[in-house]
């Protein structure tokens, strides 16, 4: 039980990078970008094929980021210069990427079996003391211990670094203009910002993050598959929505940490749901849809109930005063 939760947290943090990318387009830019399903695989495919061809894992991961950035920029250009509706430009790019990804990988699946990855390299230099320390905790509560802590600890550092970079970026002069582009385009244009370029940049950065997430997932799972991105956008959205519902979105810093939390919570919920007897692995997409619906509807219901309670209390208080008089 504890071990499978550990696995959920582990993959949750990696998908959190993708969710941050989705946050950037959906929430900051107000651009519903569906490129994600394709660019996730692009990241995975570029990283995998580079590693197989002898590129060092770190460089391969950087190449994946660049590929994702380019894919996102093209979606942005389709929308701004081609004047194609935002949703449609994303969809067009997504299906085009399916073929492009096949070309990149040269086959539907690329295996990384017995190839070096970022994580295998890290494990080589990882001090054994850390693992045995944490495993001691697991064993103390009577659970089997995970194979390694390297992924979870390393990824926490990476994700937090990306979070703080994103927070900083969104507060720079360019970042402010980017946010205003999603908030009030007419206004920011009147303050001499080129909204077209900002949209291209924003969607590019978003998909760079998505591709990074894909590249890391491929290196952990040991393969890249052309269909591994299907439904990725919904998972990203689910993370954003769950995070905002649970942890709030008052400031940028809170919203980004909420998105990371949302990605992890999503994985945990899915893991727990799949342990229920009558649910099968194939039900995962349905579970995802259900989680998103709950995350969207529940806060509104709670809010309505709270309002109603407040009103009733106020009326009762007023009634008592009148009776007293």
């Amino acid at each position: 039980m504890l071990l499978s939760l550990f696995g959920a947290v582990e993959s949750g943090i990696i998908y959190a990078i993708m969710a941050l990318g989705v946050y950037l387009t959906f929430r900051v830019l107000d651009f519903p970008d569906l490129t994600v399903d394709g660019s996730f695989v692009t990241g995975a495919g570029v990283a995998a094929i580079s590693i197989v061809n002898g590129v060092s894992p770190i460089v391969a991961t950087l190449l994946a980021i660049v590929a994702g950035f380019i894919a996102g920029c093209i979606t942005g250009l389709l929308h701004t210069k081609g004047k194609i509706n935002a949703l449609l430009s994303g969809i067009l790019m997504m299906i085009a990427l399916y073929s492009i990804n096949l070309r990149i990988m040269d086959s539907p699946t690329v295996s990384l079996h017995s190839q070096p990855t970022i994580f295998s390299q890290l494990r080589d230099i990882w001090p054994a003391g850390i693992d045995s320390f944490f495993n001691g905790i697991f064993e103390a509560v009577g659970s089997r211990a995970p194979a390694t802590w390297v992924i979870v600890i390393f990824m926490f550092v990476v994700v937090l670094a990306i979070k703080f970079l994103t927070d900083y970026f969104l507060k720079t002069e360019i970042g402010l203009a980017l946010r205003a582009t999603g908030d009030n385009q007419r206004m920011i244009r009147s303050f001499s910002a080129n909204t077209d370029n900002l949209i291209v940049l924003g969607v590019g950065i978003s998909n760079a993050m998505v591709a990074l997430s894909g590249a890391l997932i491929a290196q952990i799972g040991g393969f890249a598959d052309v269909s591994m991105g299907i439904g990725m956008i919904v998972i990203g959205l689910a993370s954003v929505i769950i995070g905002e519902a649970l942890f709030g979105k008052k400031t940028i810093a809170i919203a980004t940490i909420a998105v990371i939390g949302g990605a992890i919570v999503y994985r945990i919920v899915v893991t727990l749901a799949l342990r229920v007897d009558f649910l099968e692995t194939g039900d995962m997409k349905m579970i995802t849809a259900f989680i998103v619906i709950v995350a969207l509807v529940a806060p509104k219901l709670l809010q309505a109930r709270k309002e109603k309670k407040r009103r009733i209390q106020k009326r009762q208080a007023l009634g008592q005063v009148r009776e007293g008089a």
Binding site: I174, L176, A177, S190
Partner: protein, 264 residues
């Protein structure tokens, strides 16, 4: 400072909906001129504003700002010369961002945006000083989201954002029309103060004739895409609403007469 040369623009040309929005407009504003523009709906006031701001490209003619031909410059590039306040109080600010962030974006109007923080300590102090001049208590609410402000407060902030970086041209497009009378009076006063303080070259469209008479040193009246009246200096100071209506009747009446003569 601003020259509009022979600008014409026609919408839906060659269709039954054809509309000659501007017909050979010539207008020159000198530095420090404050011109009020009046005219009925469809007279071409907004089109004129849009041609100046770069929202619309004229069919013929040119726009020159500060001796630079900007006719073909896209809107966002032209904004480096122009401060604008829109009629809709929601249009001039970003609602989900804070007051200080909005001011920081306005601050970047005349500078290249870089990867350094938009709100710094020294800028904050500067923003606070500027906000104090509005006398609305906004200087204590730098971190408040602009969406929480009232329409009047937002419009005052828009006016500040458009002016504190000293634009070459200030365009005010019926910027008090959506406010209640007391807020409108407040914004009108602020406008008067801020234009005088910075000596801004201003073009203000309004439907309120009294406002058009009270503000500025020159008044133009538009009708059917043409400037039909241009009054400046002392003559403008003595002008009354009565005079304006009479003048309109006289000019358009004459034309009506001549039309009838042609048709008859």
């Amino acid at each position: 400072m601003l020259q509009i040369k022979d600008v014409s623009i026609t919408f839906n040309e060659g269709t039954p909906d054809e509309k000659k929005a501007l017909q050979g407009i010539n207008l020159e504003l000198h530095e420090g001129d404050f011109v009020t523009v009046i005219g009925s709906n469809g007279a071409g006031k907004s089109t004129l504003m849009n041609v100046i701001s770069g929202n619309l490209v004229p069919d013929v003619g040119g726009v020159i700002i500060a001796d630079k031909d900007v006719t073909n410059l896209p809107e966002f590039k032209r904004s480096a010369y122009i401060g604008r306040v829109f009629q809709d109080p929601m249009a001039g600010t970003a609602p989900s961002m804070t007051i200080e962030e909005n001011l920081a974006m306005a601050f970047s109007r005349i500078r290249k945006r870089k990867l350094k923080p938009g709100v710094t300590k020294s800028r904050k102090a500067e923003f606070r000083e500027h906000l104090k001049t509005l006398n609305l208590g906004l200087d204590d609410r730098l971190n408040a989201k602009v969406g929480l402000l009232s329409g009047g407060e937002r419009q005052a902030l828009s006016l500040l954002m458009a002016t504190f970086t000293n634009p070459n041209i200030l365009l005010l497009d019926e910027h008090t029309a959506a406010l209640d009378p007391s807020r409108a009076a407040l914004i009108t006063n602020l406008t008067k103060e801020v234009v005088a303080e910075h000596g801004l070259t201003t073009l203000m469209v309004t439907h309120n004739m009294q406002q058009a008479l009270d503000l500025g040193n020159r008044l133009i009246m538009m009708d059917k895409g043409q400037i039909i009246l241009d009054i400046r200096g002392e003559r403008k100071q003595e002008l009354t609403i009565e005079d304006l209506l009479k003048e309109f009747q006289r000019i358009r009446g004459e034309q009506f007469e001549s039309d009838r003569a042609v048709l008859g």
